[in-house]
Symmetry: C2
Subunit: 217 residues, 2 copies
């Protein structure tokens, strides 16, 4: 899933370079895309080491991840940056959470390939500057960000329903007491509660990122 | 020129991944594109070291190189591979020739970034296999290759006319006796003769590459 995520992130970012307002930013986004495909190479190499054909391993995730990107094609440079900032960051948080339940080699690999913070910083800086320059952008980009999250959740549910093994990994997440989870812990089996606390952590991080660039959640 | 060439090669290859017949080939072309943008990074870093803004340095080459790619958008996977194999190889040969007249640091950099032979080998293998499978492809792909060369020459002339300094570098190429050059050496100034022998070397290498994959020159 992460391998195909990287491959698609590469293709989408490379495609979005056409939206860049100047050559410097175009090159910058291209280099961000280059980091994604380098990461893909690391995961594909690990899959091959495990005796798995990367194409076969990725195949089950093609429909959901492709659908996410088809449903969220940015129309301009700022939408592309918000997508990279909001969408990729949630995906990264998710993979970091999952990685805790993998063996040490795979865990390190996941930590290595989830995005470099400086790319999120570049996107955040551009978004903040654009909103400062034209405050009307705030509403439009906030709606766009919410659409990205909605589409991401839809496709994540699709993957979880089709991949019980992946959902099972999530069920290993330890349950935590968290007041932002509006379900009484005693009424839930431990596994479900673990998923809920994970979702609540992902949501909290997302909310903080939105606020950091001046977008409304 | 090489920096913008790498940036455009990256974007074009990344865009052409949509033509790949399967996920394995799609990932392979994506990784080829990744190598281009990594090379771009090396050249941009060297330009910055020389105190030059990469965007400003690339700007003069945007029209010609963009026009080349706009005029030669592949319609299918094999056209994309022939373009990578034929077009990029000629460009690489050209940059290798030019590099001889640069200082040692820049010469090494150019040698480092011109394409890895294994990418040409991958493209060549795919083209040969496709022609073996369907001999009718030979004519169509041969015509396509000639169109690539024609468009490349057109845009190269445009660059040379606008960039006397670059044309001047070429004029440093030593004149050689070469029977395939149909101009009497004694009738030409040495500089022009140098350019002609360079063109003849580029042409000879191109002809050999075409023959190697079964295309007609």
């Amino acid at each position: 899933m992460l391998a195909y995520g990287e491959l698609l992130a590469f293709e989408r970012m490379a495609h979005d370079t056409r939206l860049a307002p100047d050559l410097t930013r175009r090159a910058r986004l291209s280099q961000m895309a280059g980091a994604e495909i380098a990461n893909y190479g690391l995961i594909a190499a690990r899959l091959a080491e495990l005796g798995v054909d990367p194409a076969l391993a990725m195949a089950p995730f093609v429909p959901a991840l492709s659908a996410y990107h088809e449903q969220t094609t940015p129309c301009d440079w700022l939408e592309a940056l918000v997508k990279a900032y909001v969408g990729d960051s949630i995906a990264d948080d998710f993979f970091r959470e999952i990685a805790q339940y993998l063996d040490p080699v795979d865990r390190q690999l996941v930590f290595q390939v989830v995005h470099d913070a400086r790319y999120a910083q570049f996107a955040a800086m551009e978004i903040r500057a654009a909103i400062a320059d034209d405050p009307k952008l705030r509403d439009r980009l906030s709606i766009w960000a919410r659409r990205l999250v909605g589409e991401g959740v839809t496709q994540a549910q699709r993957v979880a329903a089709q991949r019980p093994a992946l959902a099972g990994l999530l069920a290993l997440a330890p349950a935590e007491s968290d007041p932002s989870v509006h379900v009484s812990a005693v009424e839930q089996p431990a596994a479900t509660n673990g998923v809920l606390t994970l979702l609540s952590r992902l949501t909290a991080a997302h909310t903080a990122r939105m606020a950091a660039v001046g977008l409304n959640n």
